[in-house]
């Protein structure tokens, strides 16, 4: 059998096409979240923040410092380029729709700690064109800084302002580097990872451990007997903008 040049080109072109189709079909049929085999016990990490306890020690910021040190968060002087994982904002900013015109200033102006909500239905992971951010089976909205192309679509999609972009090389703005955690490079997006690296070692998130008031209660929301679930049973809690259908895993006791 003799293969003409035309046949050869045709066969090789078709094989390339078939290989490409196979890859595309695989990637479509296998969404990122199902990569990890489901464990026997469902886990959904979540956090309850007790604002009444936090108010008692206004301006303490121990949680922020602990997070900054653990994750090499740069302290950038230019506010436009700031990187924040956990930070505080006035109550009126965090819960704009929960305000009455007559609330006392002590409430509207208290600082409320903010972080990524690790939504059950995250809008940020939906828009990512490279699956550089995705929701893990344990509910953590994770970032892969090796894959992020820096398009900032997730920044636009996040309704909570939880995502920061590295507008410059963060290293010069880190006072002392924690060698156990990578810094980031310029041009990628980052955010709170619920201390995924500490959870893997059986520890609680850095902010939880650092708080002198024990404001943060961290645990498995899928387990009805967990600490956060008990708190949520006993007291009235709110989430940030639940009307958007994102299902935040961070709850606030007001």
């Amino acid at each position: 059998m003799k293969i003409t040049r035309k046949d050869f080109l045709r066969i090789s072109g078709l094989s390339l096409l078939a290989a490409g189709c196979k890859r595309a079909a695989e990637s479509v049929s296998q969404p990122a979240s199902s990569v990890r085999a489901a464990s026997t016990q469902p886990v959904r990490w979540g956090m309850v923040i007790d604002l009444s306890k936090c108010r008692e020690k206004d301006g303490c910021n121990a949680c922020i410092h602990a997070c900054n040190a653990a994750h090499n968060i740069p302290q950038i002087a230019n506010h436009a380029h700031e990187v924040k994982w956990i930070w505080t904002e006035p109550d009126a900013t965090v819960f704009p729709s929960a305000q009455t015109d007559f609330a006392p200033q002590t409430v509207t102006e208290t600082k409320v700690p903010l972080l990524c909500n690790h939504c059950a239905n995250p809008p940020c992971t939906r828009v990512c064109p490279t699956q550089a951010t995705w929701k893990r089976d344990d509910g953590i909205v994770m970032m892969d800084w090796h894959r992020c192309i820096g398009c900032r679509y997730c920044v636009a999609a996040c309704p909570y302002g939880s995502r920061s972009f590295n507008f410059e090389d963060p290293r010069p703005s880190i006072e002392s580097i924690n060698p156990d955690f990578p810094t980031r490079t310029k041009g990628v997006v980052e955010k709170c990872n619920f201390c995924e690296e500490r959870l893997a070692r059986g520890l609680k998130p850095a902010c939880v451990d650092a708080c002198p008031q024990r404001v943060f209660t961290f645990g498995n929301l899928a387990d009805p007997e967990s600490e956060p679930r008990q708190l949520l049973r006993e007291r009235f809690a709110v989430q940030r903008e639940p009307e958007l259908g994102t299902g935040p895993s961070v709850f606030y006791l007001v």
């Binding site: 595309a24 990637s27 479509v28 969404p31 230019n78 506010h79 436009a80 380029h81 700031e82 904002e89 900013t93 965090v94 704009p96 809008p123 939906r126 828009v127 990512c128 064109p129 490279t130 699956q131 550089a132 894959r147 992020c148 192309i149 820096g150 398009c151 900032r152 679509y153 920044v155 636009a156 999609a157 996040c158 309704p159 909570y160 302002g161 920061s164 972009f165 590295n166 507008f167 410059e168 090389d169 490079t185 310029k186 041009g187 990628v188 997006v189 903008e241 958007l244 259908g245 994102t246």
Partner: protein, 384 residues
């Protein structure tokens, strides 16, 4: 295939023009290298306004690209012979616009060396993936149709029969590129400025007026600078398309303004107040008013029989500038300010940002010059 040899013979004026454009391209490239080295911090972008001029320009030029359909559709579907001399110009304008779009996206990336991750890890849930698919498909379709018909013309044979289905396929495809681009924004729950179903229709209406406006200006320039005349009928028809598309666009904007202000949900009104409230210290507000006034002025000219024909170039410039300000600047920035946390961040494109944008514009002007040169040379050759 590309008939590039036709672009290598030109007058002194032609070469000087290309040289000037090349200088701007080099300036843009220099600033881009700086951006590559130092990061996007050298732009005016910030934590709150994380998309700016680059993405806004991308959006605008997707519109220009899509507008080629306004010459392809009448020519291929309705056999409007008046468009015979302008269709290919529209197709080349679309090709160049898509290339500019790709460049605008590219310079906006924080890690451009990883751009292929979009293909390596395809994510069909992301609208950006579909935007890539639709834009590259549209580029391919238009490139094939334009070059094959031109080649057939040079060889004085009829274009192959399979070209017509491709040209007709490019019509819905053009609609799709701008619809997908609108979905990019209108599907974001936290950005109430864009969270409106009118966004895609509004994008199309503005595209079908800004695109023909540019095409008319290019045709008029060709008539002035060369012997090539697309014909009065073609220009008149394009002007009619532009007029009605612009009217529909203004109508859509007013519909949006009514809904937002009559319902008066603060989350929706704040963005319009930021964009249009003069005296609030918002640097974009005067420009948004310029855009609005230009739009009205253009419509007045286009609807007045005495001015319609004589003042057409001015009307085109007004339409183009108005939409460039509205879509190529305000629409994207307005979605970010105030931020979901209510912060009013000041955004003004920086000098490097403007220069990089000017560089990409020059790439566009360079390519359109070369392509039109090829078209004109081929037609001249055939006619003589």
């Amino acid at each position: 295939m590309l008939m590039l040899d036709k672009a290598l013979k030109g007058s002194r004026r032609y070469w000087m023009w290309l040289l000037c454009l090349l200088c701007v391209i080099v300036a843009g490239l220099c600033f881009y290298l700086r951006q590559l080295n130092q990061g996007l911090g050298i732009t005016g972008l910030s934590r709150d306004v994380s998309w700016g001029l680059y993405i806004a320009q991308f959006t605008f030029f997707v519109g220009v690209a899509a507008s080629a359909v306004m010459v392809v559709l009448p020519y291929y579907l309705h056999r409007e012979k008046q468009f015979a001399r302008v269709t290919i110009l529209g197709e080349f304008l679309a090709i160049v616009s898509v290339i500019m779009c790709i460049l605008f996206i590219f310079v906006d990336l924080g890690q451009p060396s990883r751009v292929l991750n979009i293909i390596l890890y395809p994510s069909p849930r992301s609208l950006m993936f579909w935007d890539m698919v639709s834009l590259s498909g549209y580029l391919l379709l238009n490139a094939i149709v334009a070059f094959v018909t031109l080649r057939a013309e040079r060889e004085e044979t009829p274009a192959p029969r399979w070209i017509k289905p491709l040209a007709i396929l490019s019509i819905p495809w053009a609609i799709s590129i701008h619809t997908v681009t609108a979905f990019l924004y209108s599907g974001l729950a936290g950005r109430s400025f864009w969270l409106t179903a009118i966004l895609a229709p509004r994008f199309l209406a503005s595209a079908f007026s800004s695109g023909p406006a540019l095409l008319i200006l290019l045709c008029l320039a060709l008539r002035k600078l060369t012997a090539y005349d697309v014909g009065k009928d073609a220009i008149r028809k394009l002007a009619v398309i532009m007029t009605y598309a612009m009217t529909i666009n203004v109508f859509f904007v007013l519909v949006e303004v009514f809904t937002v202000f009559y319902a008066a949900i603060p989350e929706h009104t704040v963005h319009f107040e930021y964009l249009y409230l003069l005296g609030g210290g918002h640097n974009l507000a005067p420009w948004m008013w310029v855009s609005a006034i230009f739009a009205i002025a253009a419509l007045v000219i286009l609807f007045t029989p005495a001015w319609r024909r004589t003042q057409l170039p001015i009307a085109c410039i007004l339409v183009f500038t108005s939409l460039w300000l509205e879509k190529g600047l305000g629409l994207i920035v307005g979605g970010f300010v105030p931020s979901p946390l209510g912060a009013i961040a000041h955004y003004a494109p920086s000098l490097p940002e403007w220069t990089i944008v000017a560089g990409i514009w020059s790439v566009g002007a360079f390519l359109i010059t070369v392509f039109y040169k090829i078209v004109l040379s081929v037609r001249e050759e055939v006619e003589s």
